[in-house]
Symmetry: C2
Subunit: 306 residues, 2 copies
């Protein structure tokens, strides 16, 4: 048995993409279990599932599960937290796509939630995913009450209004109307993208009962990875393939949106990406964890084509 | 000291309205503390505070605190849960008022959130209150981790998508387009209004560590009180005073909305109200608690003019 497990681990290390695909499959299956059926409002369920099933790379939950494995804990212990995180991410996309916000018709190549179900149901589907994410977290009987409280606290703070994702959304709306400087752009992405990536890392640290110093390192790693993720997004808007990224290439330019590319140029943005990836890897090296796979994941973020 | 406390209790019993006013004042002050400031997105804070401060009767948090006192527990122990409940209620009103939903311009006589801050910020202010309500609950260090987990579980389930408030909102949207039968109307209000009233009662029971049998009675009481609350709302739409109820009298009739009055007539609705209040009082009597004030509160719900 021990040999089998070791072999599996070696195999995983040999192929990040296969391992990611395997985790994604587990996440997809578990997510569907967590979206509860409602005999009262089946259309609401359907709308919630529609967006959850139109999943992308599942970077956030995959990161959480890989970080947990890096600390030597079976990733199954983080499955609920990983799915709750993805539910929060999905709700934020549904609300972000609404006519009053980004007014997007397509998300990952498919009609956005409100295009299929109407605005009212889309707003409520977002509210439902947000609310049910916390329900999932506290119903995870595998974890102690103390850890569940910590997870709810971290997720609600990092996704919340004060210094969390929602604050980032508000800043982002402003930034779409007015050009912003580099520091503001970094702050927006720290909040809007980085905070949920931070939850992925911190949740793993909480479940693996890591100390404050390591938790601080996890936040630092997430900060750099989040920025790298966003810079690569901006680069893909210039150099990407419309079919792969699921939205028209050049839409940021068309919308006059401030991006790392518009502020630094393509070469400057690539330099900043390299520097953020380097900083992220430097934090990883210091962690008392088996971070080989995470190193590959970090590099993948910088080189992905979608 | 004992005498002073007793005197205060007697005084409270003598005047429900003064006691409610005192609790409301405490709730209002505490709510403002819980809406965290955000240096990143001050307009979001402002929008959240705007709707929270345009508070109504605070029936839900007052009920929670009174129920707690009935079980002999200082109401201060329920203040955070009471405020979290009011934050959830307030978020639901902000989203409910949106153009895609009820499209209301006025709420309690003041412009609705999106009329002041625009739709995008209003959606995010709702998301913020919803998320921060859970943050408040888990940050309540006065309660054990076990009780906090129970509270988050109850609030997310009762406000959630499966058999909670959000399912009721979806049903309500359908009902505005098509006339519904009495049983459907009752189901809508059980979910949309009753569920948060149920949280008020259950949260008090959880904090006061009541057994399953009593928790079931609390749900039953809340069910009847919630229906009574809604029936009186419908009656006020016919017999109320526009200035007092904060919206035009007769708006349900104008919108062809199915109500207890449209389905049962004014006399029939009043009979049903009396019967729900009677059923609620019958449950109260069985509770091992000092329910004199709650009896007055129950009667007040049936007789309020706003």
């Amino acid at each position: 048995m021990g040999i089998l497990v070791s072999l599996t681990k070696v195999e995983r290390r040999m192929n990040l993409h296969d391992y990611m695909a395997q985790l994604r499959q587990e996440i997809d299956q578990y997510l569907i279990l967590l979206i509860k059926t409602s005999t009262d409002a089946p259309v609401l369920n359907e709308a919630m599932l529609y967006s959850v099933e139109n999943g992308g790379k599942r970077i956030r939950p995959v990161l959480l599960l890989m970080m947990l494995e890096a600390f030597g804990i079976d990733h199954k212990n983080g499955m609920v937290a990983a799915c709750a995180l993805e539910m929060i991410h999905t709700y934020s996309l549904i609300h972000d796509d609404l006519p009053a916000m980004d007014n997007d018709d397509l998300r990952r190549g498919k009609p956005t939630n409100h295009k299929v179900y109407g605005e009212a149901v889309a707003i409520l589907a977002g509210d439902g995913l947000l609310t049910d994410a916390f329900l999932a977290l506290v119903e995870d009987d595998n974890l102690s009450a103390d850890i569940r409280v910590k997870l709810v606290r971290a997720l609600s703070m990092l996704a919340g209004s004060s210094t969390g994702m929602i604050a980032g959304q508000v800043l982002d709306i402003d930034a779409e109307k007015n050009p912003v400087e580099l520091n503001t752009l970094k702050r927006i992405h720290h909040l809007k993208t980085g905070r949920l990536i931070e939850f992925a890392c911190l949740a793993a640290g909480m479940i693996a009962k890591q100390n404050d110093e390591i938790m601080a390192s996890l936040s630092e790693y997430a900060h750099h990875l989040g920025l790298a993720f966003q810079i690569q997004d901006d680069i893909l808007d210039i150099e990407g393939d419309t079919d792969k990224i699921g939205k028209p290439v050049g839409s940021d330019v068309a919308n006059n949106k401030s991006t790392y590319v518009s502020l630094l140029g393509l070469v400057g943005a690539k330099e900043m990406l390299a520097s953020e990836i380097e900083a992220a890897l430097a934090v990883l090296v210091k962690l008392p964890a088996d971070t080989k796979l995470l190193k590959q994941l970090t590099l993948y973020v910088a080189n992905r084509d979608s």
